[in-house]
């Protein structure tokens, strides 16, 4: 039994909780939080690796995936979508016919992929590809909880698709994770607020 617990890889780990807010103090959802550093266990990705097209929107708006992962693009609408990205990190084009059609894209480079639909200009999503072993996205309260981060020196990185300034930048902080002692780190990130109004022309 004792051997078993040690081998699970969680005995020397802790939960890293990250809270992201805007300079106004509002919680910031959809921020990508990664924790990097040497890891002995396989990479755990949160949730399923898919971006759905539903009601002429992408769901989720932001996805974080490990390098080399495949992301599925299921079309749940009754209409066609022409999903594409021209980001150098992973350019692709998918012609998705009505309802039910799914195709996948594999992402082999670390970076950001801006995803759009050529038929519906208002559709927008972002994929962040990372080498970090631990990753999560902040919820509506601006909080991301990453369990089972191995003890040691770690770097927490925070990124948001609408962050002010360069899209390639990110907030980084060195922390020490101690076994069985959860930590809470707070970050502040200014974001742009583009108009949600779109024209039909």
């Amino acid at each position: 039994m004792l051997v078993c617990l040690c081998a699970s890889g969680t005995a020397f780990a802790a939960t890293v909780q990250v809270e992201v807010r805007t300079p106004n103090g509002e919680p910031l959802a959809n921020a990508v939080v990664t924790v990097s550093g040497p890891s002995s266990s396989p990479i755990a990705t949160p949730g399923k690796l898919a971006i759905e097209q539903k009601n002429l929107q992408f769901h989720p708006y932001v996805l974080v995936v490990p390098r080399g992962a495949s992301v599925a693009f299921p079309n749940l609408d009754q209409t066609r979508h022409h999903v594409y990205s021209f980001s150098p990190t992973g350019p692709f084009e998918l012609k998705l016919f009505a309802s039910g059609e799914t195709r996948s894209v594999k992402f082999d480079k670390v970076g950001t992929i801006a995803v759009g639909c050529n038929i519906h200009d208002q559709m927008s999503a972002f994929i962040r590809v990372t080498d970090a072993p631990w990753m999560a996205i902040t919820d509506a309260n601006g909080v991301a909880a990453i369990p089972d981060v191995e003890a040691g020196s770690r770097v927490i990185e925070v990124w948001h698709p609408l962050q002010s300034g360069s899209q390639d930048a990110s907030l980084k902080r060195n922390v020490t994770v101690t076994a069985n002692a959860g930590i809470l780190q707070s970050f502040e990130l200014a974001v742009r607020k583009p108009l949600k109004i779109h024209s039909h022309y």
Binding site: Y84, G116, S164, K193, H200, Y201
Partner: protein, 416 residues
């Protein structure tokens, strides 16, 4: 462009697209039911000077219930980058109860970088209105559009080739649009003979609207102008143009500018419809004051000229200037929302060539609307609109130059 022309385009282009690339596309639509009424003078739709879609019964408040608008929109694709937009309209108040609203072919290649291109060919409205952001050029904040966009809806539909380039710029986005057009030579006729109005009737392709029957201009204009305006009409075979730039900033606001010139020669006429030389500039501004609180504003200034006698020397032109502005605040509360809009407008006889002081007017309006999205696709709206205007040509109709009206309307809009 006539429906026949569009069908022809489809028949020619369909074989070019491979069977796999083409798609019958979606059909969507809308039915808009109204109960409402107004006091004061009769509506301009009845050949009077009333500025609203509804009017009084012997000046008393008159209530009626009706289907205000029915729409079917069909968007088949010829390929992944080319689709067709076809909008059929039902408006029981118009001479043409059934008509084609907009019909165009859109080409939008897949972007290979941050710069995007698109081209439209067909019959459509120039992108001027900030209020018509709903399905099939419908308003979403109020039932009745502003004076500026009521006029766009009735007299500024074009048959055009239009190209747009959109590129990211300094954390924001810049769009530049240019178009060459025809079929809008009579634009300005309603503004001259009737003046500004506020209503949601849209001109179908080939449609017409009445002009005030007893306006004194007809004594001098009757050889050139019927008692109706046909806004979607090519008369002088000259090519008009419009150009537009829109800047969407990183901060939540956008600003745009449009210049329109129908290049009308001001002297050609046929079937008692005349080519007016009409130009205008429009500035639009939208800002999100918070996530749920938006400000919209537009200002327009323009002029329209014609040469009353075909052989008259060029300096003898009739020159009507027009201006209008509105500011609207919109606050959303979940599925509900309220909007408050102030409008001001005027027209001026700039060279005083028209007799009987017949084209100038000044006016203003306040509109308040409440909306409730009862269910997806089911929108309830209630609106009160007050309008006050001074137009001396009303005296030819035996009524006082200054008139005001109150219109109260509720609408239930079903989109499918």
């Amino acid at each position: 462009m006539k429906p026949l022309t569009v069908s022809f385009a489809f028949a020619v282009l369909a074989p070019i697209a491979s069977a796999q690339e083409a798609s019958l596309g979606d059909v969507s639509g809308m039915l808009d039911f109204r109960i409402g009424g107004a006091d004061g003078e009769s509506s301009w739709l009845d050949g009077d000077f009333g500025k609203l879609g509804l009017g009084g019964d012997d000046r008393d408040f008159k209530l009626d219930a009706r289907l205000a608008r029915g729409v079917l929109v069909w968007r088949p694709s010829l390929s992944w980058s080319t689709d067709l937009y076809l909008q059929l309209e039902v408006d029981p108040e118009q001479d043409d109860v059934i008509g084609v609203g907009e019909a165009y072919l859109r080409f939008k290649p897949l972007p290979s970088g941050p710069v995007r291109y698109s081209v439209r060919v067909g019959a459509f409205y120039p992108p001027v209105s900030l209020e018509h952001d709903g399905l099939a050029w419908s308003t979403t904040h109020t039932i009745t559009p502003s004076a500026i966009n009521s006029w766009i809806g009735e007299e500024v539909k074009v048959g055009a080739v239009e190209g747009t380039v959109t590129a990211p710029l300094a954390d924001g986005q810049l769009s530049v649009t240019g178009a060459l057009f025809g079929y809008n030579d009579t634009s300005g006729t309603l503004l001259t003979f009737r003046g500004w109005a506020m209503h949601d009737h849209q001109v179908p392709i080939g449609g017409s609207f009445p002009l005030p029957e007893r306006t004194p201009q007809y004594w001098s204009f009757r050889k050139r102008q019927a008692h109706k305006a046909e806004p979607f009409r090519e008369i002088d075979d000259r090519v008009g143009y419009y150009a537009r730039a829109e800047w969407r900033a990183a901060d939540p606001f956008l600003v745009n500018f449009t210049y329109y010139n129908n290049a009308g020669d001001g002297r050609s006429y046929e079937d008692l419809q005349t080519s007016w030389a009409t130009t205008f500039s429009n500035v639009g501004f939208t800002a999100a004051l918070s996530d749920d609180f938006h400000l919209f504003a537009q200002a327009m200034i323009g002029k329209t000229d014609w040469i009353p006698l075909a052989n008259a020397p060029i300096p003898y032109v009739d020159d009507v200037g027009f201006r209008a502005v509105y500011v609207m605040l919109d606050r959303a509360f979940g599925d509900q929302g309220v909007a408050l809009r102030l409008d001001a407008f005027d027209t001026a006889d700039r060279d005083q060539a028209f007799s009987y002081n017949s084209t100038p007017e000044t006016g203003w309006s306040v509109t308040a609307a409440w909306r409730n999205q009862l269910a997806p696709g089911l929108l309830l709206m209630v609106e009160g609109l007050f309008i006050d205007s001074d137009r001396p040509s009303r005296t030819a109709d035996g009524i006082a130059a200054r008139q005001s009206q109150l219109q109260i309307e509720s609408g239930l809009r079903w989109e499918f």
